[in-house]
């Protein structure tokens, strides 16, 4: 051991404030400000890039929802009752590109040669709305929002702030194409997400 021998019971503790004397107030103030500025600057890049990464989803360019084929017209029964169809489309999920992934579902209801499409997601809080067992209405299994078969709120006590979200439909040949979009929940006006 090259260390200098010490007295056996002298603890190796540096007493607070034992070293040096207090600097002149003016110099001390400048040094303090300098320390805060330099330290802050040192943290600037990591904190900024961290916040930026956290908010990155907000910066991502919005994609317009395209129409996608959802069903054959013949597959939508002309019975006045909405029927559920899976929406299968290409979907980029961060680092993966999925081809033909079931990304959600729509209710299609046929009226002669035209078709109405509703998003299955409840405009209240995002649950998957069901057609009631007796097929007389839609009912949300979460907070019991209730809609008639056209998707309109049919009960003043219904928690949903708006009717179920209608989607653009086009009949192309014998196929039903739908613009599959989700909308922000919990507000009276229908605002698309992304």
């Amino acid at each position: 051991m090259s260390e200098k021998p010490q007295a056996a019971d002298a603890p190796h503790v540096v007493e607070e404030g034992s070293s040096g004397t207090a600097p002149a107030p003016r110099r001390g103030f400048l040094a303090g400000m300098g320390a805060i500025a330099a330290g802050g600057l040192a943290f600037l890049a990591p904190v900024w890039s961290g916040i930026r990464a956290a908010l990155e989803p907000l910066e991502r360019p919005r994609q317009d929802a395209d129409l996608v084929p959802v069903a054959k017209l013949a597959a939508v029964p002309d019975d006045g009752v909405p029927h559920k169809f899976r929406v299968v489309m290409d979907r980029v999920d961060a680092w993966n590109t999925h081809r033909q992934l079931p990304v959600g579902a729509v209710y299609l209801r046929r009226a002669g040669d035209s078709v109405e499409a509703l998003n299955v997601v409840c405009p209240h809080a995002g649950c998957f709305v069901n057609v009631a067992a007796d097929r007389s209405r839609f009912v949300c299994p979460c907070h019991k929002s209730s809609f008639d078969l056209s998707g309109a709120v049919n009960d003043p006590a219904s928690p949903s702030p708006r009717d179920m979200d209608t989607l653009d439909v086009e009949i192309r040949g014998d196929e039903v194409w739908v613009r599959f979009q989700n909308f922000l929940p919990g507000r009276a006006e229908k605002e698309p997400v992304a």
Binding site: A125, A133, E191
Partner: protein, 594 residues
């Protein structure tokens, strides 16, 4: 040894630290009712230990999260125990927190000088709620997925920043990989970090102020109890209480077989049993009382006011009646929470659609375990592909969606719901089985809704033949008919009848010959092994087999089947009402192939 410890103390001063930690005067001596804070710290420590171990096996991505949790739960040695402890200790933490809070309020321990520490405690409560909310999503099962959707939907109605908050939270417009990575970062990094910092501050302030004895006015020395020390008197009580908490948690883990894991999350699959954990159920129920745009009142404004009032308790406590007010307020809130929770569960129990949805969820959870343990295991595309290609899972849904407007299955719509409309076509449970065919050829049954009752065929040749000719059969002919049924049913090669078909090979051969005989006379109207008089009814060769059924569902109007006399059966194949894969799933389900 002593020398080594002396040296260590000389270099580190650890003895002073240990003394500072263990030597704490407890006025009035150690007491059982001081244990709650320690049990909470213990619960948090257990969550850190089990959480880190779970972290080592968990994968936060949309095609791997459920799968890794499945692995932990079912394949990893002791994984179910680890996950079960983490799950139930989270519940215990909630209970202990509320007990702790109640104790603080009852003892008035929020009063000066402990205001800041009371707020630390409140902040800790919210961090723990955040931990359970984020943790609920991580297994990426249907339950966590849909319940968390409700939570992030509520986040989106926050004034001004709502939509941005939701998007930043879920990492985009829709749930996906980034939702999991973000929730995991919150659950395992941000929130635990904040938790440690707040607990450190909480304990530091607690040591600064000492325990709240509650029994005696400050400064006065009442009763005969001498002051005690934390070590070892209180430490012993604390340790015993921690052990009791752990025992309770272990009891729950072992009794339930660990934490539940539902079927993997699927945005395209309805899930009508979505509910949050029990300690959030009161909020869930609360939201049902706020129609339309008043949701913000129920979800944000009123809860915000309640929390603000709780946070202001230290100041309210300064009034003459302030403490009583605080007690009453806390009691009212707890009673309200209790009532809402009870209402939520009572209403769900009384709702047949919810109960049915819960049973379906349980069945799907069991089914996915069977599939994942199947010969092919879980593919890299995730466990969801197993369910999407599973006849037992998809068949009933396809049936309910596409077939149940005319047909029934064992009297219901395939999913167990009552039929919405009166049944107009045959009940297909056990189609082509011996039992089903026996009923078809029974004069009493053929014209009932179970078979042809609701169709044009009710007045057709087949029904007339059964009701006249077969009704007049003697005993010998009835024996022959039974053999014919066996032969025809054997054509289907149903997996459930394989053993029977094998055992009755001779009778089946006899029946096959009898089918074309004059006394039974099927070939008067049906083709059987190339023989027929008139080709009127469906071909009987291969009746009910996979190939036959696929063709029939595809197009019942094909000359092989009903031809022009087809009643209302749509051409599911050529009209592409069902895809080839969907027809395959339906056929597989009807035939019991899974």
């Amino acid at each position: 040894m002593r020398l080594v410890l002396d040296w260590l103390d000389d270099r580190t001063g650890y003895r002073r630290l240990v003394r500072a930690a263990l030597v704490e005067a407890i006025p009035g001596g150690a007491k059982w009712r001081y244990v709650w804070g320690s049990t909470l710290t213990f619960a948090v420590a257990v969550q850190f230990i089990t959480g880190l171990a779970l972290w080592a096996s968990y994968s936060a991505n949309a095609q791997g999260a459920w799968e890794s949790v499945f692995y932990i739960q079912n394949d990893m040695a002791g994984g179910w125990l680890l996950r079960g402890i983490h799950h139930y200790m989270a519940h215990a933490t909630m209970i202990l927190l509320v007990l702790h809070l109640m104790q603080i309020v009852v003892a008035g321990a929020y009063r000066a000088p402990r205001e800041v520490n009371f707020w630390f405690g409140l902040a800790l409560l919210f961090i723990v709620l955040g931990l359970s909310l984020t943790g609920y999503l991580l297994p990426w099962d249907q339950q966590g997925y849909w319940a968390t959707k409700v939570a992030t939907s509520i986040a989106s109605i926050t004034p001004f920043i709502g939509p941005a908050l939701q998007e930043a939270l879920i990492g985009g417009a829709d749930y996906g990989h980034l939702t999991l990575t973000r929730f995991f970062a919150l659950h395992a990094g941000v929130l635990p970090g904040a938790l440690i910092a707040l607990i450190a501050g909480h304990v530091f302030l607690f040591r600064r102020h000492g325990v709240t004895t509650g029994e005696r006015p400050a400064g006065a020395r009442a009763g005969g109890n001498p002051d005690g020390q934390f070590w070892p008197d209180q430490a012993l009580r604390d340790a015993v209480a921690c052990l009791a908490v752990m025992a309770a948690v272990l009891y729950l883990v072992i009794r339930t077989g660990g934490a539940p894991l539902g079927a993997p999350a699927d945005a395209s699959e309805p899930y009508a049993a979505a509910r949050p954990e029990w300690y959030f159920m009161f909020l869930f129920q609360w939201l049902t009382y706020f129609p339309a745009e008043t949701e913000i009142l129920g979800a944000i404004v009123i809860p915000g006011l309640v929390v603000t009032l709780i946070a202001l308790m230290p100041f309210a406590g300064r009034w003459r009646l302030g403490h009583r007010f605080n007690l009453g307020f806390t009691g009212t809130i707890l009673a309200g929470v209790g009532l809402l929770t009870w209402l939520a569960y009572a209403q769900d129990r009384a709702d047949p659609e919810f109960v049915a949805a819960q049973h379906r969820a349980e069945a799907a959870a069991e089914r996915i375990v069977e599939l994942a343990r199947g010969p092919d295991g879980i593919p890299p595309s995730g466990a969801l592909t197993l369910l999407r290609n599973d006849p037992l899972t998809q068949g009933p849904q396809l049936f309910a969606d596409r077939c149940a407007s005319c047909h029934s299955y064992d009297g219901h719509d395939g999913l167990g719901n009552e039929l919405a409309e009166a049944q107009t076509a045959a009940d297909l449970k056990g189609f082509a089985s011996r039992e089903w065919l026996t009923g078809l050829l029974d004069p009493e049954q053929i014209a009932t809704p179970r078979y042809f009752g609701g169709t044009d065929f009710a007045r057709g040749r087949m029904v007339r033949m059964v009701q006249s000719r077969i009704a007049g059969f003697d005993a010998a002919q009835r024996d022959d008919l039974a053999k014919v049924v066996k032969a025809l049913s054997a054509e289907a090669a149903l997996p459930q009848q394989a053993a029977l078909d094998e055992a009755d090979r001779d009778e089946i051969a006899e029946g096959a010959a009898l089918l074309a005989s004059e006394s039974i006379g099927c070939t008067e109207c049906h083709e059987w092994r190339g023989a027929f008089e008139q080709d009127l009814g469906p071909v009987l060769t291969g009746f009910g087999s996979r190939e036959w059924l696929t063709g029939f569902i595809g197009d019942a109007s094909h000359p092989r089947f009903y031809g022009d006399s087809n009643d209302r059966m749509p051409a599911f194949g050529p009209d592409e009402i069902l895809s080839e894969a969907e027809i395959g799933l339906l056929v597989g389900w009807l035939r019991g192939e899974w």
